[in-house]
């Protein structure tokens, strides 16, 4: 034992020092009562980011939101087919996220139509449909179809009401509706143009006719033109088309179809001129 100085002195000094520490204020932050204030530059918060090119890094495909066990993922935005998706999951993950849209708070101008105030809809008939479906999410498809039968389309208010009543998550219902082409979200339209996309019609130039319609109606297949006049949809000719692609406008098939005809028809329909004169 090195004893160039009194052997025990340093140890005793250490012990006295430790005893003195007892009376100094302790450093612990008692978590639930006292909160450590987070610096403004804190990077731990889940906020949607844009990549360098300015496009959304996320396609709001919902897979992560549905997979999240504690439903803490709060997401909203527009998908590649320009259809808005809705919010999902509890947003009280961070105490200060009381407001509805994390995106609006993140200061990024993202069209968030879902949270535009949707006009109320008479929910009477919907309640009967729900009662018929015994409020079971398993019969969601049947209920959605009958709801569309009643309202002509699936209004947001109806979907919200159905979500609350059946307990199914709003996004699940919304996702269900988007996976069936015959269910629509846009209000019923005046005119419907249906183009056959079978291989026979494609061979006869169906692709170019459809492209022309897309261009002039300003929407993709299954969508409605911005002014809400015309819906572009799909039909099946069963391989009987001959000469040119099979196109139906408001139910009656066109004798022949070509990209130029498509342009004129689209323009006419949008101008809401009865189909007769346009042909």
């Amino acid at each position: 034992m090195r004893t160039d100085r009194i052997p025990g002195l340093a140890i005793v000094k250490g012990m006295l020092f430790a005893v003195r520490q007892v009376f100094r204020p302790n450093l612990t932050v008692r978590y639930p009562e006292e909160l450590n204030e987070i610096s403004p530059r804190h990077r731990g918060r889940l906020i949607l980011l844009y990549d360098e090119a300015g496009t959304l890094k996320c396609e709001t495909c919902f897979q992560c939101a549905q997979a999240c066990p504690i439903e803490c993922i709060d997401m909203g935005g527009v998908d590649t087919r320009n259809r808005y998706h809705v919010h999902w999951g509890a947003s009280e993950q961070y105490a200060e996220r009381r407001e509805e849209s994390a995106l609006r708070r993140s200061g990024r101008p993202v069209p968030d139509r879902t949270f535009d105030p949707f006009e109320p809809v008479d929910l009477g008939p919907l309640d009967e449909i729900l009662a018929a479906g015994k409020y079971k999410p398993a019969n969601a498809l049947a209920m959605l179809e009958s709801a569309q039968g009643v309202y002509g389309h699936l209004p947001v208010a109806a979907l919200q009401h159905m979500a609350h009543q059946t307990g199914a998550d709003y996004a699940a219902l919304y996702g269900m509706a988007t996976s069936y082409p015959h269910l629509h979200f846009e209000p019923p339209v005046g005119h419907i143009v249906r183009v056959c996309r079978c291989t026979q019609c494609t061979l006869l130039g169906g692709g170019r006719v459809l492209a022309a319609f897309r261009e002039h109606l300003g929407t993709d297949v299954g969508g409605v033109s911005p002014d809400g006049a015309v819906r572009l949809d799909v039909t099946a000719c069963g391989g009987t088309s001959s000469g040119s692609a099979y196109v139906e406008v408001d139910g009656e098939p066109l004798p022949k179809s070509s990209p130029e005809d498509a342009a004129t028809i689209a323009a006419a329909l949008r101008a809401n001129v009865p189909q007769g004169e346009a042909a």
Binding site: R2, K13, N36, R41, E52
Partner: protein, 407 residues
Amino acid sequence: MTTPREQVRSLDDPEVMVQTPGTIYDTIPPLTPRTEREAEFYDVGDGEMLVNLGPQHPSTHGVLRVVLKIDGEKIVDLDPVMGYLHRGVEKICEHGDWHHAISNTDPLEYAASMFSESLPVLSAERLLELEVPRRAEYIRVLAWELNRISSHALFIGWLALDLGGITPILYGFGERDEIVEMLASLTGQKLLFNYMRIGGVNGDLNHDFLSRLGDWMSRAGARINDQATLMNENEIFVNRTKGLGVVSREMALQYGMSGPPLRATGVPYDVRRAHPYSVYPELEFDIPVRSDGDSYARYLLHVDEIKQSLRIIDQVLHQMPDGPVMAKLPRLLRVPPGRAFAALESPRGQYAVYAVSDGSDQPFRFRIHDPSFFNLQAVVPLTRGHLLADIMAIMASLDPIMGGIDK
């Protein structure tokens, strides 16, 4: 010549089969030894026993396994096994662009990530011959030195904890938390800062950071002095570390050690002085050096270095110029082809990178030189013949970080 794959004998080979459990001394005999050193290590004499220290062990500073051949308490021989934390960071860096390399090298030295993340930054700037604004240089030095103090505070706490004292580690963490909270207000993160950018830093000093720095400077290093009073003269601590794991000058240089373990043997090598980078030449600070090279000297060295870092921080705060914190960079950064070796002095030694660029936006090769990789290798000669409890003291004093070693 049978490849190693064929040498592996299947488990139902009777010779490899585990004898009936219950006898404490049976061990699964290793594969047929590949090298003669392994052969000599694995034939266990009578009275000797093979013990696994790690990979899941309370005091191996990360995931390191050391196979000890012990005779009672005495360590006859040891064979460290590393690679448990290996993720192939160098290869990953080749697939991301230079900006990705920053966040890839962040977790290498996780106790002081400001240094390991500066590797791609310094090497890219050297290849680009980019002139970094002076204010950014000063902010970098400030961030480095703060991180160095927090890392040293951790080191002292770990050393005491490995020797059994449970109070110094708390004081260490008290000091470290204050510094790390401060850096969080500057960089946004507490452990892996991701603050350095090629051409500067991520954000300028803000009021929140400066106010915290101000009131911390007033009682800077107070808690580390608390640790020192508890440990410096404490006979038990001194006995456990004095004269233990003595590293001679030649051995240190031969093993390529750097940082405190090297300076404890009397070699005054510090990258900030030997190959000056950033604005270090304009700052006065001296390099603490000790001569007896044992664990105790290494511990005292860390305490001295903290004082020097405080001096540097003082000077930096006074000389901080104004101006931008980021240089102008093209959106798609293509680093001109060429090779660059950039080194900096991390709390554990010389952290360096040999970066090769082929002109595209992705580094062609990103060879990382990690100091603890070389320092830890000294453990084998140092602990041979000592007792089981010494391996902790020696390893703790060499302050290895497994993240950096395994890369």
